[in-house]
């Protein structure tokens, strides 16, 4: 065992860590902290002659590196071609809508139609899909209604639309290959790593369809690659290359985030690396003055914060610019936002609400209408509560005469505290009074002629909220204050008129200070399974918002106010919102909707099960020909990768514990490579996986794919590391068994001593690859979806009960 037992203070070790690892070799005397090492090295040199001095080793390595550059290029071309082939193969098949194409295809169509839609993902991916579809001459006529619909019948250029994701999916491989090269693994290992990614069934199945994931993965690996390239130029700061790679990192990060919010994890990985780097720049031993440090800091802030944010915002700018018309996404946005969309009801149908008009009142989120009918609350409920036996007030979703309420102004004679009635000259002239923000009104149910009221009785289904009922007109005076409602407009200012559809209002009871509020639950049979309406004490509750919807009044004809000029639906909308306000609103809604995706899906799964290929996702199936597309990783590759992660953690832990006892198994430079290369991949794997455990939303296997790619690269680098460490070219053999000197051999020297490692190593890689290929071929029918000859063949592939393959 090459033990280096030496006492070294923390400080000294720190100093070593800051020694630049430049491709330009430094003489050993200069490169290392010489005081303690040199005597040890000299001592061993006397005992055993060194095979070659360090300088020569370094020079050799660099020379070889240059010689091999063509070989690497050949490899690059080879893996890229293979990647294209595997992803393009039978891409036209099936010519049916598969899995989430139903969403992303649809969204692309909306861009081509210009109709506003809403989705939880940022727009870039869908913009790119729409772009390719537009190039193929598609006009967005089909809305990808259901999984299994036929593309040919609907005349959709689906092959062209699938080509782009497939292209992105193929480009992942060369980028990973180059990343492995930059990390310093051997040629044969880099090929091996690329092969694992080429022949992974999950990556293939996910890349060949109209989905966002292949773009996300591509931009993610690009971010990592560009960051590593940047990190390697750190010895020549502020050079052209340095700026180039740093800004490319920023661009890649923005692209990643622009496709899916998962990009945040990639940003976290790079962010941690940046902080780590900055922290070391701050170290006084690095010799930077504070001014120089601030320059470094500012450069990073510019390229890695300002640049990505600008790009990210620009995606949204394009998004809004391409979607000028009202569409299915309107309902998710605030009325103010909707008013900026052409053809939106918010400006074509919106009128000011006059007093004495009869209107329906619609709930903003649930879409139910405030309703009352000729039925009473039962005296005693199932839960033992006692009611007032008053008339029921409910929420009802269908048009009905019982949904209409008349708006009656407060009578200052009966309620002296009522605010003064405002009316401008125009209103006086036309003899119409309009409802304004903060006005106090009564709501008269126009069928039963009774007033909406709330009082100190618990509502049917809650203990805490007040019962909502009505009181007949003749008895209303005794309980006048309980029938008064203050109309508060969202974001309203004094004097603002309340408009139908576009003004969100809440009704606050004057006496009890509660809001008209729908419960999530429906009433039992006595309430005709309609929604319970109660008085909510929390005035800020987010579902207190309503809007006047359909309105009847003498001054309103065909839904337009006779005093207002008619609106031309084709003209520019009246509403205006600054871009950033739109952006923040949409971003907030996206987060909200994302967190709200909590229902269970038959193929959703838990993060803990992903690395172990416990189950997949059924994308599409066709009974005829026993065809199906089932998203499932290549089990051998996935198990191999996750095992490697475990082995890495094991080696790391053992090394740290042993090192604590001052036993140095790896040597300084090897450990640094181990930590910064494999450790970086480990960090990337971890940060793309762990956060999912904290998410409440439903999750799917494909959320693990970014992590999977990093774990595969980790497996490759680790395998290379282990075999090279154990073969004759390990650093200690390079230095003739001189452990002290071996500790100082830079990684690229021992990593670059051969292209293929030894025969054993190559044989092992080829053997592993063989089994992976077999596994790929075995499962490819369910990845490409070209069907199996018999039910037995399907069952043969169902290795575990939890793999819920169809037709098995």
């Amino acid at each position: 065992m090459s033990e280096v037992r030496k006492r070294k203070g923390g400080k000294e070790r720190e100093k070593d860590a800051d020694e630049p690892v430049s491709p330009v070799p430094q003489s050993p005397e200069k490169a290392k902290a010489p005081e303690k090492l040199a005597p040890a090295a000299e001592l061993s040199r006397k005992e055993k002659p060194v095979v070659k001095p360090l300088e020569e080793l370094i020079a050799d390595a660099q020379e070889k590196q240059e010689q091999w550059s063509n070989t690497w290029t050949v490899g690059l071309v080879f893996v890229s071609l293979l990647a294209f082939l595997t992803r393009m193969y039978r891409i036209q098949d099936p010519g049916k809508v598969v899995f989430d194409e139903v969403h992303f295809g649809k969204f692309a169509s909306f861009y081509l139609r210009g109709e506003y839609y809403f989705d939880v993902h940022p727009p870039l991916g869908k913009l790119l899909l729409a772009g390719t579809a537009a190039l193929a001459g598609y006009d967005g006529h089909y809305l990808f209604d259901e999984i299994g619909d036929d593309y040919v019948v609907n005349k959709v250029p689906f092959v062209s639309m699938r080509l782009f994701p497939a292209l992105c999916g193929s480009l992942i491989i060369p980028f990973c290959y180059l990343t492995l090269k930059e990390l310093g693994v051997s040629y044969v290992a880099a090929l091996f790593g690329a092969f694992m990614l080429i022949f992974d069934n999950a990556l293939i199945a996910q890349s060949r369809l109209i989905l966002l994931d292949s773009m996300l993965l591509l931009f993610g690996v690009m971010s990592i690659y560009t960051w590593i390239k940047f990190y390697k130029t750190r010895m020549s700061p502020f050079s052209f290359q340095w700026w180039f790679w740093m800004s490319m990192t920023g661009v890649s990060l923005a692209l990643t985030l622009g496709v899916k919010m998962v990009g945040l994890f990639t940003i976290a990985v790079v962010g941690i690396a940046v902080l780590f780097d900055l922290w070391r720049l701050l170290d006084i031993d690095r010799g930077l003055s504070m001014t120089q440090f601030y320059k470094h800091f500012a450069a990073r802030a510019l390229c890695l914060i300002v640049l990505p944010i600008t790009l990210y915002l620009s995606f949204f700018y394009i998004h809004f610019a391409l979607l000028p018309y009202s569409g299915p996404g309107d309902a998710f946005m605030t009325p103010k936002f909707q008013a900026t969309l052409m053809g939106s009801e918010m400006f074509t149908k919106s009128v000011a609400v006059p007093y004495s008009s009869i209107a329906t009142i619609k709930h903003r989120d649930q879409g139910i209408l405030l309703h009352s009918h000729d039925a009473k609350y039962p005296l005693r409920y199932e839960n033992g509560h006692v009611s007032s036996e008053g008339q029921q007030v409910t929420g009802y979703e269908h048009p009905d005469g019982n949904n209409y309420w008349e708006i009656i102004p407060v009578d200052a004679a009966k309620y002296p505290e009522a605010p003064e009635f405002k009316a401008d000259a125009m209103e006086l002239k036309r003899d119409v009074r309009y409802l304004r923000h903060n006005d106090i009104v009564q709501l008269l149910h126009s069928v039963s002629l009774s007033f909406l009221l709330t009082h100190d009785v618990a509502s049917p289904l809650t203990n805490t909220n007040m019962e909502m009922t009505t009181v007949p007109r003749d008895k209303a005076d005794e309980r006048y204050e309980e029938t008064l409602w203050r109309v508060v407009v969202q974001g309203g200012k004094d004097g603002d008129r309340v408009r139908t559809k576009s003004s969100l209002v809440k009704f606050v009871n004057v006496k009890h200070n509660v809001c008209v509020h729908p419960n999530k639950l429906t009433l039992p049979e006595w309430g005709f399974n309609q929604v319970e309406i109660n008085g909510e004490k929390n005035l800020e509750h987010k579902s207190n918002w309503w809007a006047f919807d359909d309105i009847r009044h003498t001054t309103i004809v065909n839904g337009t106010d006779i005093f207002e000029p008619p609106v031309d639906a084709s003209k520019k909308p009246r509403g205006h919102m600054p871009f950033l306000a739109k952006f923040f609103e949409l971003q907030a809604k996206m987060f909200e909707a994302n967190a709200g995706l909590t229902s269970e899906h038959p193929y959703s799964s838990t993060p803990g099960s992903w690395p172990f290929v416990v189950r997949g996702i059924s994308f599409w199936e066709n009974k005829e020909g026993l065809r199906q597309i089932y998203l499932l990783g290549n089990p051998f590759i996935w198990w191999f990768s996750i095992t490697a992660v475990g082995v890495y953690v094991g080696i790391w832990t053992v090394d740290r514990i042993v090192l604590r006892r001052q036993v140095d198994l790896l040597g300084f430079s090897l450990r640094r490579w181990f930590d910064r290369s494999i450790g970086f991949l480990f960090l990337a794997w971890l940060l793309h996986w762990i956060p999912f455990f904290l998410m409440g939303r439903m999750l799917f296997l494909h959320h693990y794919l970014p992590s999977f790619i990093f774990s595969t690269m980790l497996a490759t680098a680790l395998l290379d590391f282990i075999f090279r460490l154990s073969n004759e070219r390990s650093p200690s053999t390079l230095t003739g068994g001189n452990a002290a000197l071996a500790a100082r051999v830079p990684y690229f020297v021992w990593m670059r001593t051969s292209l293929f490692g030894n025969i054993l190593y190559t044989a092992v890689l080829v053997g592993l690859m063989g089994s992976f290929l077999w596994c790929f071929a075995f499962f490819s029918p369910i990845s490409y979806g070209y069907g199996l000859p018999s039910v037995e063949a399907v069952r043969e592939r169902k290795w575990f009960k939890s793999w819920d393959l169809q037709h098995a």
Binding site: I284, S289, M290, L461, T464, N513, V514, K537, N538, D804
Partner: protein, 769 residues
């Protein structure tokens, strides 16, 4: 100044570094693991004592203790009704006195102590502790409250000495103790029959023991006192855990500190391996085994005291219940016959009884909309099923007995609704991968989907080999296989139905049909058949460990089922973790009518906001120190000074963090008082940060600053003291104390809703959290 220092290269440091002589530097740069090399390690880490002068420390401690006892017992009996969660914990205390078995989500130690306090003041356990009800004259509730108060007031001297042991100045420690004493929230919660004062006391005790132990670890490891304090720490964390599971967080704090110690010593090459091994062994014994023993002991006490059947029976296995006095399981006829009425219990840990009720699966939840079948934990007539033959004509005649054997095909009829246990290839409401089970059909219409095959998996009692085995009550564990689908009747895995299913456990037909899964196993719990003789007091095997594990799993599941339910809980009672440190919420502890005596649970703003700010300031201070260290500014006189700073920071920040952060990932319903243990650690950090920063300003200003902070705490407390000692009359009198608009001191409108709903409000079953 700072700017220029940061720019300095090492060369510039040669003369002086931040005013420290250069000679201080090498000591700081020593490797971490050198404390054993100190020439006189004992001298360094002692609490600073003024020699030859009057030692004020014990007198201050005494004063603080007296003051804190006074605050905690002053007007203690004023509320003569059941306040807030007294409704739960008073009731549980009664159960110990009555010795009747109950079930609760919290471990037993705290409630056992409350029971003991009740016994001590002569309470006979007969009062039902209904929320808001007046105490009967014979019940000395003040005595029971005083027990909690006294325990709670001990937190104050503990805080004081913890401060001193963390090397804070005497004034800073007094400031710390004053905050603990006069925080309105900590004070309020200590004055009622609740677990919180016990929990907080044990938390504070654990923190104190940990700090003392750490000082011995630095100066005299493996000495007798070192051992003793480690044992104290172990007992204390064990007690903490045995009161509430929140104690796990303080265990985590101790555990992390232990790991760090071991890691530091691992790097000490001079330490003999045997010594190092001893460090491990002693820690395992005192910090793992000892607390575990305390925890187990509290359960042993629980089971020993509660030997009579009570309302918590159904949470436990049938065999456990058979051993409780006062139930009639031993009267069960042994073997089941056709026509027997039985209740069937699930074999998973904490499994419920097979149950059905008239309500149907709602549209959208499942395909069938047939009658719900669930697992329910309470005894109820809806748990009763009748064993029927597949065809009506096969049923034995009136007086004929036909036993049920292994492999028989049966139908199970729900006694109350006469529906049959049914399954069909429709997706179950929650577990979408399995088939739904429902109540459907009736006896006269044969339906193959009503047929179940009984398969014996295990039998607790010997039956003859080769013979067809009978199904016996309590001891036989069997599976029910659906004849048409081949799946097994399943429950467990803590999957509860949503509100429409009353949060009862889901029952479905398990497609994997794995008989090793305990959720697929069932046993007959109660058995009624007038034709058969009672089984007699047969010896049912009893096992403490089985019951212990069963109960813990049931507690875990019940705890997870305490999810927020907006229809049952008023919004004002529950809160979200992010609201706590910024004091967004207060909590009404009782009804809010104008004529009622009211208690409002709310922090002392100086303490709460101050401690939160202190956390931020501490983070900033650490950041500055780190950057300066990276620029070699040399801020520390020696390694010990840095170490003490880091340790105090770790206790404060880590303690706060570990007691606070987990609440963000918990799904269960949460209340304001869940923040209190975290607050205690934030208070420690608050005092420490003020002390640390004020120290730099010179002696006089240091004292002035600390006294000013202390005075601020006292002054604000005086303002808010009515919240603690009770508010009489309309809440609007205290409207001026509504400093933050979200505090619901009053509702904003006179004659509030609270009056009308007070019946539901008073401690509206806050789940005894």
């Amino acid at each position: 100044m700072a700017e220029t220092e940061l720019r300095k290269r090492p060369a510039a440091k040669a003369t002086t570094v931040n005013g420290q002589p250069e000679s201080a530097k090498p000591e700081f740069e020593k490797p971490v693991a050198t404390f054993t090399e100190d020439a006189d390690p004992q001298a360094k880490n002692k609490i600073p004592k003024k020699k030859n002068s009057f030692n004020v420390v014990p007198y201050i401690a005494l004063l603080l203790t007296i003051a804190s006892v006074f605050t905690r017992v002053y007007r203690l009996g004023r509320a003569d009704f059941v306040v807030w969660d007294e409704a739960h914990f008073g009731k549980f205390a009664s159960f110990y006195i009555k010795r009747s078995f109950y079930f609760d989500v919290h471990p037993p130690l705290g409630k056992t102590l409350l029971g003991a306090s009740g016994l001590f003041v002569g309470y006979n356990g007969s009062f039902p502790f209904e929320s808001g009800k007046q105490y009967p004259p014979e019940l000395n509730y003040t005595g029971m409250r005083a027990f909690c108060s006294l325990i709670g007031s001990l937190m104050v001297p503990l805080g004081f000495y913890t401060g001193l042991q963390l090397k804070m100045s005497i004034l800073a420690s007094t400031f710390l103790a004053t905050m603990v004493m006069l925080d309105v929230a900590l004070l309020s919660i200590s004055r009622f029959i609740l677990l919180d004062s016990l929990l907080l006391f044990f938390t504070a005790l654990s923190a104190y023991c940990l700090v003392v132990f750490r000082n011995y670890q630095k100066t005299e490891p493996l000495s007798t006192r070192w051992h003793i304090w480690m044992a104290y720490t172990g007992i204390s964390i064990g007690c903490c855990l045995s009161v509430k599971w929140v104690g796990l967080f303080v265990i985590a704090l101790v555990g992390l500190n232990t790991l760090e110690d071991l890691w530091v010593m691992l790097g000490d090459l001079k330490m003999p391996v045997r010594t190092y091994a001893r460090h491990w062994i002693v820690r395992i014994a005192f910090l793992i085994l000892l607390p575990a023993a305390v925890y187990v002991f509290s359960f042993w006490l629980h089971f020993t005291i509660l030997n009579e059947s009570g309302e918590g029976d159904a949470q436990m296995s049938s065999l456990f219940q058979a051993n409780l006095q006062g139930n009639n399981f031993h009267e069960n006829p042994i073997s089941i016959a056709y026509g027997s009425k039985i209740s069937i219990k699930n074999g998973a840990r904490g499994g419920g009884l097979l149950h059905s009720h008239i309500q149907t699966y709602p549209p959208g939840a499942s395909g069938s909309e047939q009658q719900q079948v669930t697992c329910y934990h309470h005894k109820d007539q809806n748990n009763e099923w009748i064993v029927m033959t597949p065809a009506e004509e096969d049923m034995p005649a009136e007086n004929e007995i036909k036993y049920l054997y292994e492999g028989d095909t049966i139908r199970l009829q729900h006694d109350q609704t006469k529906k049959l246990l049914h399954s069909h290839p429709l997706v179950a409401p929650v577990s979408k991968a399995h088939w739904e089970v429902s109540g459907y059909g009736n006896l006269s219409i044969p339906d193959p989907n009503d047929l179940w095959v009984v398969e014996i998996v295990k039998d607790g009692r010997l039956q003859l080999e080769g013979e067809k085995r009978e199904i016996r009550s309590l001891t036989t564990r069997f599976a029910l296989r659906h004849k048409a689908l081949g799946c097994l009747l399943h429950s467990g895995e803590s999957k509860n139905l949503p509100e429409w299913g009353f949060k009862q456990a889901e029952v479905y037909c398990d497609k994997t049909a794995d008989v090793k899964n305990p959720g697929n196993l069932w046993n007959v719990e109660q058995h009624w058949n007038s034709l058969l003789p009672p089984g007699g007091a047969a010896a049912y095997p009893q096992s403490f460990w089985r019951d212990f594990i069963d109960l813990n799993i049931a507690m875990w599941q019940a705890n997870n089922a305490l999810t927020p339910d907006p229809t049952k809980e008023p919004d004002q009672l529950t809160s979200k973790p992010h609201q706590w440190p910024i004091m967004q919420v207060g909590l009404r502890m009782c009804g809010w009518g104008d004529n009622e005596l009211k208690y409002f649970l709310l922090g002392n703003p100086v303490v709460w906001i101050g401690s939160t700010v202190a956390l931020v300031v501490f983070a900033a201070v650490c950041f500055v120190y780190l950057v300066r260290a990276q620029r070699r500014c040399g801020d520390w006189k020696n390694e010990d000074e840095l170490d003490d700073f880091m340790f105090a920071g770790k206790v404060g920040v880590l303690g706060w963090f570990l007691h606070y952060l987990p609440f963000f990932i918990m799904g269960r319903v949460m209340y304001l008082h869940h923040y209190f243990p975290a607050l205690y650690f934030a208070i420690i950090l608050f005092a420490f940060v003020v002390d640390h920063l004020a120290k730099r300003t010179g002696k006089v200003l240091h004292a002035v600053i600390l006294l000013a902070f202390t005075a601020g705490v006292v002054a604000v407390f005086v303002q808010f003291s009515d919240f603690v000692f009770g508010m009489d009359g309309p809440a609007t009198q205290w409207a001026h104390l509504k400093w933050i608009s979200t505090w619901n001191v009053f509702d904003g409108v006179a004659g509030s809703v609270g009056a009308a709903l007070s019946g539901d409000f008073g401690g509206a079953g806050s789940g005894s959290a």
